[in-house]
């Protein structure tokens, strides 16, 4: 599938999706409530993007952006970046761990590092940080006066 075909296919399902082709791979930006249905479409036939190789979050100060890097195990030349903005005061997004099992651990990491709440996640607990840790370390406004990690 070429980028144009992918864009037509996705627009048919999610007309609100916007595209960005300036980067190495095709980037799709959707509203957070459209993310899960679109992810399910990409995971299913005919795209079959069954390999989620990176899941992370970026803090843009005004909002957080969830970033999903997808590819197909049968054709690793198709790479798609899926993005969804969430507000940073009360970030909530639907989990994708039922589509890609690897998301279960990756979402737990984002949950503790950015404070994003994943709806319907099977086991949303802290993975790396201690239970009594305050704040979300990878957010831009996080300051730790004891363990300085800035130069």
């Amino acid at each position: 599938m070429t980028n144009e075909e992918i864009k037509t296919y996705i627009t048919a399902h999610t007309p609100e999706a916007t595209f960005d082709e300036t980067g190495e791979w095709l980037t799709i930006l959707v509203e957070s409530n459209h993310l899960k249905p679109l992810a399910a479409v990409l995971r299913g036939q005919p795209m079959q993007l069954d390999f989620l190789f990176c899941l992370t979050c970026v803090d843009y100060k005004t909002h957080l952006t969830m970033v999903y890097h997808l590819t197909a195990s049968s054709n690793r030349n198709i790479n798609i970046v899926l993005k969804a903005n969430v507000n940073n005061a009360d970030p909530i997004i639907e989990t994708v761990s039922d589509l890609w099992r690897t998301a279960e651990f990756l979402e737990r990491e984002v949950f503790e590092m950015f404070g994003v709440d994943f709806l319907h996640h099977p086991d949303l607990r802290r993975l790396i940080l201690e239970e009594d840790f305050n704040g979300f370390p990878l957010r831009k406004d996080f300051e730790d006066p004891i363990n300085m990690i800035k130069l």
Binding site: D50, L52, H69, T102, L106
Partner: protein, 378 residues
Amino acid sequence: MYTETEIIKDTTDLGPDGELVINMGPQHPATHGVLHLVVTLNGETIKKIEPHLGYIHRSIEKMCESLTYRQFIYVTSRMDYLSSHINNTACALLVEKGMQIEVPERAKVVRTILNELTRIASHELWIGAMAMDLGAFTPFFYAFREREMITDIMEDTCGARLTMNYIVPGGLMYDIHPDFQTKVKAFVKQFKEKVTEYEDLVTGNVIFQSRTKGVGVLTAEEAISYGCTGPVARASGVRCDIRKIAPYDAYDRVEFDEVIETAGDSFARYMVRVKEMNQSIRIIEQLIDQIPEGDFVGKTKNVLKLAKGEFYQRVETARGELGVYIVSEGATTPYRIKFRSPGFSNLSVLDHIAKGSKIGDLMATMGTLDLVIPDIDR
């Protein structure tokens, strides 16, 4: 002072259905690092494994946000310390891609040779440690004999034996040692003679085979769904070698086979790594006489600045696919950096493949996943 009842818990109280929860790690000889597994057992059968991470979490991603594009590479050597060259390569390639820096051919070839030497050294250490976990002590000494030759080569050329920090944006930090080619050739010769010893000691061993065959079986679909890469996924028949999918450095001009096994058990994962070492030797043999003359580093600006945008670079480490994702705002430091580490995804499958097996088999399953804890925690 504690009263006696506080210290010694009643061992007859095993919870519902006779479950017993034991903590494996963070100080356990077979985890080779500070990995903490909370294992729920029913008798000797594993019901659930919960990894608790963070004992060596240094927040490398946050640290990198305040380091420049020349500095952040040194931190990445401390992630997967057995593949530090390959981690450095990933970061250098990303900066080169973002700034369109031309890398001299000499640097590309030397990088490829060093990456493959690193892969062999990593697999050597793994074979020794893995066999030791299963009770065989001798392979450890055999494996370290050859690994020592590689670390000596690294010491000559890079000045360090483990965290090399030799690969920089644009090429190499300095030129290779004059003896580099001679020493690598001597290593290749010795390795080819001695590799059969591992086969005799470990591969054909009845105890080793009965402890690994059919243990910790991972199917291809599950390997993909759990995001497994590297030898773990290739042992289940998944083609995922980044050196073939998106060749970098000099991988596009060498011939080698992507090692694939289909059984998906611990023994298949062992076989993939043994065969991969032979393929690495094949790559080194093709390149060692072909190191072009010329510069070892390309022309770069003093201050490196990545253009505004997003960059992603994948490389194949000894453990699988390492991805570096950088969001740049056009400054001298990354705005956000994410390391997609192979160990993190490979660990997430442990609960799934070890469930239902005996606790003794956990050593074989965990050992063949080849977990490096600083790579998982970052």
